[in-house]
């Protein structure tokens, strides 16, 4: 009994052992197969993915910022270019760790860096890893650059380099148009998903104007020195460098010469001048003065200069062509005349001007006693009574659509950071805005471009251009567009009446008779405007006193009258009158288009009285900034 189960168990046991052996061996073989399969999956089907990751590990790039694209005008004349300069960077990983402090002290002394800068550098050096450079100084004068270069053997990690800085040959004349460049801010860095290019020393990003709007075109593709580094950031060897690709050159419709001339012509005044090709809508000039010097911003603007700019009552930081709004005054009368004709007013019908217009118990004044005037004379003499009377007859709700049709109160498809709408009032607008009913008095004020109406200079230039050419032009800033715009839906006879009035303004006995073009065969048509800044009692009307309470001077015009090609708008802030301040600027700017030398001669004579050319005055300003900051220090 005792041996039987034992023998059975022994046989059973041998079978069990073999069975279980099969199981163990089978499991192990399966596992082996699984491991090989996994190995194949990783190294064959996932190979591309992991090879990229290994390459990302191995290769680090010392980014070389791409050269920024140029901005040129319609003739290829440079507006924004790059000037080579000297810069010195420092790569902490290239210096022995215990020597970094002494190296920084030495190079700081050679470059004459101030304590604030040294502190910034030390903080950056402590935080940079993976073979990334830290900027020590840019725009280094050659003698200091040379001093660093000759001592290079004792300064491991210090990298003297040729860099590029942005340069605007026309200086403040193009300030508002092009904006400026500067090092990217923390927000901009985060907004671009921490693109390492943005924190590369020497890299600048567009901050305002065209530089900001056209950033992606102008930037280009960064290149770099590719280096092989270990996991701890030590350099193993240098690999083939990746070449950078410069940004694209952007051509503007602008005529840089004209633009700069207009900026200079405004002289000491504060104002704006826009010139359009009235067939195509190309913006030939969009000058706003006074302006900041974008070259100062590109180098990093000082605190003193910034303060002087912000405190200036002539607002050099505001682009007055797009972002400043002015009551247009009488410059809208040609537009009103078109609206009147559209609503059945016969241009030959006369209105008697006894020096004003009686509406109920209020008397709305005219600037003179014009007697009986038709539409043509009313424009020429800028007779308010005619427009009060006819505006009242037609109603402003019928005039406002014409204003919009001619571009007033509109924004345009332009590559700019911002542009203001302004206001073309109408009954609905007033109800929305003030919850008040529109009155006849509102119509009268709006008919002469006062009251609620405020517009910016580019809208005025578009209006003048559409009237001059009879085409629905849209202002264009980028590229050259030779194709004329489509025609307006306004009868030619209506336009001819208005153009005739505008011809008389300048060439007849009109308000701008002193601003005829100095050519026998080329004539300018236009319309002056004088806009009150605030209501002043009595006959004073803002013709003197404190600068900021004086009337604005405005002018819209076009030339040549025989075959209109250019339209212009000029606003001179607190210039006291359109014929006095604005029309002469328009005259000279248009003169430049037909006879450059004559225009320049006139300008140079004037600049002699203003304390030098724009460039000379900009230099003076920089000296003033330096003096103030030294006095404060």
């Amino acid at each position: 009994m005792k041996r039987r189960p034992l023998r059975i168990t022994k046989t059973m046991q041998r079978q069990t052992f073999s069975r279980r052996m099969m199981l163990v061996g089978g499991i192990q073989a399966t596992f082996g197969g699984l491991l090989v399969a996994r190995l194949g999956y990783l190294s064959v089907s996932q190979n591309q993915y992991y090879r990229t990751l290994a390459e990302d590990n191995r290769v680090q790039m010392i980014i070389v910022p791409p050269r920024r694209g140029w901005i040129v005008d319609r003739h290829g004349k440079p507006i924004a270019i790059n000037r080579s300069d000297f810069r010195v960077d420092f790569i902490p990983d290239q210096a022995p760790e215990d020597q970094i402090d002494t190296i920084l002290d030495k190079v700081g002394a050679l470059l004459e860096l101030d304590p604030d800068t040294m502190e910034r550098i030390r903080a950056e050096v402590a935080s940079k890893t993976g073979y990334q450079p830290v900027q020590l100084a840019e725009n280094v004068p050659f003698d200091r650059y040379a001093a660093v270069t000759v001592r290079l053997p004792e300064l491991p990690g210090v990298q003297p380099m040729r860099g590029f800085s942005r340069y605007y040959p026309a200086g403040p004349a193009v300030g508002h148009l092009v904006g400026y460049v500067g090092a990217a801010s923390r927000e901009e860095y985060v907004a671009e998903e921490k693109n390492p290019l943005l924190v590369t020393p020497g890299f600048k990003i567009g901050k305002e104007g065209l530089e900001e709007v056209l950033e992606q075109d102008l930037r280009g593709q960064p290149g770099g020195q590719r280096v092989e580094v270990t996991a701890r950031g030590k350099l193993v060897r240098e690999l083939e460098p990746k070449p950078d690709r410069s940004g694209e050159t952007v051509q503007l419709a602008l005529d840089a010469g004209l633009h700069e001339y207009a900026a200079r012509r405004m002289g000491l005044e504060s104002g704006a001048c826009v010139v359009l090709d009235c067939l195509t809508g190309e913006i030939l000039c969009i000058a706003s003065m006074p302006a900041y010097d974008p070259n100062s911003f590109s180098d990093g603007i000082g605190r003193t200069e910034w303060r002087l700019l912000t405190e200036n009552e002539r607002r050099p930081l505001v682009n007055k062509t797009l972002n400043a709004l002015y009551p247009p005054g009488s410059t809208v009368k040609p537009m009103v005349a078109l609206a009147l004709q559209k609503h059945g007013v016969d241009p030959t019908e006369r209105v008697n001007c006894p020096g004003g217009y009686q509406l109920g118990n209020r008397f709305f004044r005219c600037l003179g006693r014009h007697g009986p005037v038709d539409m043509n004379r009313a424009i020429a003499k800028s007779c308010n009574t005619y427009f009060y009377s006819m505006g009242h007859r037609v109603g402003y709700e019928n005039i406002a659509p014409m204003a919009h049709y001619l571009g007033l109160g509109e924004t345009f498809d332009l590559p700019v950071v911002s542009q203001s709408y302004g206001t073309v009032p109408d009954p609905d607008w007033k109800l929305r805005k003030f919850d008040q009913k529109w009155t006849s008095a509102d119509t009268l004020n709006a008919s002469i471009g006062q009251g609620y109406m405020i517009l910016n200079p580019i809208q005025l230039a578009v209006m003048a251009g559409r009237i001059a050419s009879g085409r629905l032009i849209q202002p264009k800033l980028i590229g050259v567009h030779p194709k004329p715009a489509p025609l307006l839906d306004i009868p030619k006879e209506h336009l001819d009446v208005v153009r005739g009035g505008m011809w008389q303004v300048v060439n007849g006995d009109g308000t701008a008779g002193a601003s005829r073009l100095p050519f026998p065969d080329i004539q300018m048509g236009g319309k002056t405007g004088t806009a009150q800044v605030r209501r002043i009692s009595g006959g004073q009307r803002g013709q003197g006193g404190e600068w900021k309470y004086r009337d604005h001077g405005l002018f819209v015009g076009f030339a040549p009258v025989s075959s209109p090609r250019f339209s212009v708008s000029v606003v001179i802030e607190h210039g006291m009158g359109g014929s006095r301040a604005a029309a002469p600027v328009a005259r000279d700017v248009l003169t430049y288009l037909f006879d450059r030398e004559l225009a320049m001669r006139n300008l140079e004579a004037m600049e002699a009285n203003w304390g030098g050319s724009l460039a000379e005055r900009t230099e003076q300003f920089q000296r003033q900034v330096l003096a103030v900051s030294e006095a404060n220090a």
């Binding site: 163990v24 596992f31 996994r38 990751l53 290994a54 590990n57 270990t230 996991a231």
Partner: protein, 374 residues
């Protein structure tokens, strides 16, 4: 054998197949160590080579031991290693945040490492002595559980989860092969599955992190998931043929951590590719197949059980290490035997191979003699 006429008989009788496999595996390891050191025999390749040759010769020497010597030595070895485990716990050397070593000056001795083969031998001896009729009784289980539980508990205290699991695995395989009822293992497996959440609760923070990272290594590629991510990059970037010897950027530029120890397979595959990795896996498969074959042919019950256990031990090392470096298992710190740098691991594995070679020798000396010892 063709060579038998040329080479002397003792030399010809050596188990050349397994010696060549071991040499091939060790050679690949030493070549990789030379490469990961940046093309230098210092600090790893030379030392590893010397240790390797020494222990290989020792293993060949062991193969001349008769089985009864091994049987006699087994309880002594078990008691000795157990005492060392207690010693290491008592006055353990602090290293890597765990107490595992006894510093002997010329090398750091890791007693838990030696427990892996010793537990197999002691269990094999136990089940050889146990009457077959008692296999289904409780006395087939509790002494074995005690023999396994005590050292595993000590190893867990160190704490060294990887080695504890290795010891447990080898022990379970021996018990399974000894013929314990199947439901023990099925039931035990289910119990372990159920207890996993509980085990997680008792883990150290770093162990928990490793488990979580195993489940989602990309969650923290620069932190704790770094090892596995970089290891997969090394393996995956090697492709079919590898980047070429001495050209592995991951290991040479130190992106791959522990490229000379636990992650040596990744360093090798980066340079030798799928082909090299497969060759190494096949070499291990050959070694393991040989071991299982020894078990199949062994004369004694002790020989059979010990051979399966020792072979499974090698399998466990290789399998877990490769799963770990290929992102299929958490990082548990198990080296690739005979390939990774490190004295203890080479010694234990070679010890196992020595014992296996001894069984092999007995089989070849008396191929047809049936088992008589029990």
């Amino acid at each position: 054998m063709l060579l038998s006429s040329v080479v002397p008989r003792p030399l010809a009788l050596l188990p050349w197949k397994v010696i060549l496999l071991v040499l091939a595996i060790g050679g690949m390891g030493i070549a990789t160590l030379y490469s990961t050191a940046g093309g230098s025999v210092e600090p790893w390749a030379l030392r590893q080579g010397l240790i390797f040759i020494t222990v290989l010769l020792a293993a060949i020497g062991m193969s001349y031991m008769p089985e009864r010597w091994i049987k006699t030595l087994t309880p002594l070895a078990y008691a000795g290693v157990f005492l060392l485990l207690i010693l290491v716990e008592a006055m353990g050397h602090i290293g890597k945040g765990a107490q595992r070593w006894i510093d002997l000056g010329f090398m750091k001795l890791q007693p838990s490492e030696f427990m892996k083969p010793v537990i197999v031998l002691v269990l094999a001896r136990f089940y050889e002595l146990l009457p077959l009729g008692d296999l289904r009784k409780l006395r087939a289980l509790w002494p074995a559980a005690l023999l396994v539980g005590a050292p595993v508990g000590l190893i867990l205290l160190q704490p060294d989860l990887g080695t504890a699991l290795a010891v447990l695995f080898a022990a379970v395989v021996v018990m399974f092969m000894a013929g314990l009822p199947l439901w023990y293992f099925v039931g035990g497996g289910l119990a372990v599955l159920a207890a996993l959440p509980l085990a997680y609760a008792f883990m150290h923070d770093y162990q928990r992190r490793r488990v979580l990272i195993f489940l989602d290594p990309e969650a923290d590629p620069l932190g704790a998931g770094y090892h596995v991510s970089q290891s997969k990059i090394a393996i995956g970037s090697g492709g079919t043929w590898g980047k070429g010897y001495l050209n592995g950027s991951q290991s040479h530029l130190q992106y791959l951590p522990e490229g000379h120890t636990d992650f040596i397979f990744s360093a090798m595959v980066e340079e030798w590719g799928l082909v090299g990795g497969t060759v190494l896996i096949l070499a291990f498969a050959g070694l393991i197949a040989w071991g299982l074959n020894v078990a199949r042919k062994a004369h004694s019950r002790f020989g059979k059980l010990a051979a399966v256990g020792l072979t499974s031990n090698i399998f466990f090392y290789v399998g877990v290490n490769l799963m770990m470096v290929m992102g299929m298992a958490p990082v548990v710190g198990i080296p690739l035997p005979l390939v990774s740098f490190g004295g203890s691991a080479v010694m234990t594995v070679m010890l196992s191979i020595g014992v296996l070679m001894s069984f092999d020798r007995q089989i070849r000396l008396a191929p047809r003699r049936p088992a008589q010892t029990d």
